[in-house]
Subunit: 256 residues, 2 copies
């Protein structure tokens, strides 16, 4: 299949982070960065993230708008055993399918809880899936993630999500991975704005992002060049390094 | 105005985090948590967050859908001096207004850069605002944030955004702050799922969130009770503490 795909095809994904604890500021999200980085390695570009509350209507709306316009949709959070875990029901509603107990998920949970007090009704909730779903193994706490078509339903706890992503590695079709190079410089970004704009214009296959910082009373910035084409990336990076040197600014390859 | 507002009115806000660097996984966002926590203190509830790329169409769509259905809309990122800083132009497009140089912003930048090489064309970009906007002072790096109606345009660098939020403190109308209490317990959340559900049902003014964790080989969870009514919050918390004790589980007030 990948042979028939032209190299310029860009595969995209969206992520929905589900949870009142993120919206209240209580919990600092770690899933956006880890899903983003993992997708990058798969050759899939994260296009948009939404953080929504533990509310069915909010989840349904986000799922339906994002799954339609991306190749893949990931969700994190809300698949545990308690009353506030409504992700499976909300996604089933969005997909227009029933919620069923997945026999294999039930068997996994029976095994996991055999020595941990047995499979109670609350724990059995974690075997419920939108009808037609497959499972994503979870070696850490038993309860699996769920795949339904292009929708991937993952845990909220980052360490568990990491294990699920690891199991999915290499199984999703993607395009060319987005490559990047970083050049740092102790310079105010406004001093090199023209150089950045011109360098990006000279390399149509590259984007340059400028990320300023202030440390120890000094002003600096990292410039990140991104491209799917290695030769273009290297040429653009060299031009930026030369340009900074020409302006009397010392470029730091790899960033500061 | 607040006297005429019934206490049950809930004020809401949305946040748009603008930046390829978040979507690539390169930068871990810190603005969601800090804006969320600050809004909570103002009595404003963060309802939804979107992370979008540095693309005009994506920003315009997010701005227009979120500002219509929330009392306030905040954005972070993309207001610097470089070519990838397109937030002001995109938001002006969303609002249907022109982009103009704000005279006071220009004066601020002239002062700030007087001893730093002068106000170049690139730096003057940071004085551009959607027509009709007011400024939000930035004591750290000069370039101000921007308010246009219910839209608040903030910096991407978290320390600068913090300063802008600080200047806005107490100026936005909000409702009752959402109060919370946390009870931790070394217990699998599935073992207390029924207790959590029943306790929440018994206290209609409260929501209970359950946040499991695994540390040092042990299973635990924090239960966060939220309410705008202190007496209800305390009653619900007491019932949960008693319920955990009745099940033979030691509750830890304040969380683990």
């Amino acid at each position: 299949m990948s042979q028939a795909t032209p190299p310029s095809r860009i595969w995209t994904a969206a992520l929905i982070v589900i949870g009142d604890e993120i919206l209240s500021g209580r919990t600092h999200d770690k899933n956006i960065a880890q899903v983003a980085a993992w997708l990058g390695v798969q050759g899939i570009r994260l296009k948009e993230v939404r953080v929504v509350a533990d509310e069915t209507a909010a989840i349904v709306e986000a799922v339906n708008s994002l799954r339609a316009r991306n190749d893949y949709l990931f969700t994190t959070g809300g698949i545990g055993p308690t009353h506030d875990d409504i992700t499976v029901d909300a996604i089933a509603e969005a997909l227009g399918v029933s919620v069923v107990v997945h026999p294999e998920a039930r068997a996994i949970l029976e095994g996991y809880y055999a020595t941990r007090g047995g499979l109670t009704e609350a724990r059995l909730r974690m075997a419920r899936v939108p009808e037609g779903a497959e499972l994503i193994p979870n070696r850490i706490t038993g309860a699996p993630g769920i795949r339904h078509g292009n929708v991937f339903i993952m845990a909220g706890v980052p360490g568990i999500t990491a294990g699920m992503l690891d199991r999915l590695s290499g199984t999703l079709e993607g395009g060319l991975p987005l490559l990047s190079a970083t050049v740092g410089c102790w310079v105010g970004e406004s001093e090199v704005a023209d150089l950045l704009r011109q360098t990006e214009q000279d390399h149509a296959a590259c984007q340059i992002g400028s990320y300023p910082f202030w440390r120890e009373g000094r002003t600096g910035a990292n410039f990140v060049i991104r491209s799917v084409e290695l030769a273009q990336l290297e040429a653009c990076t060299e031009d930026l390094v030369s340009g900074l040197a020409t302006l009397g600014r010392e470029p730091v390859r790899g960033g500061i």
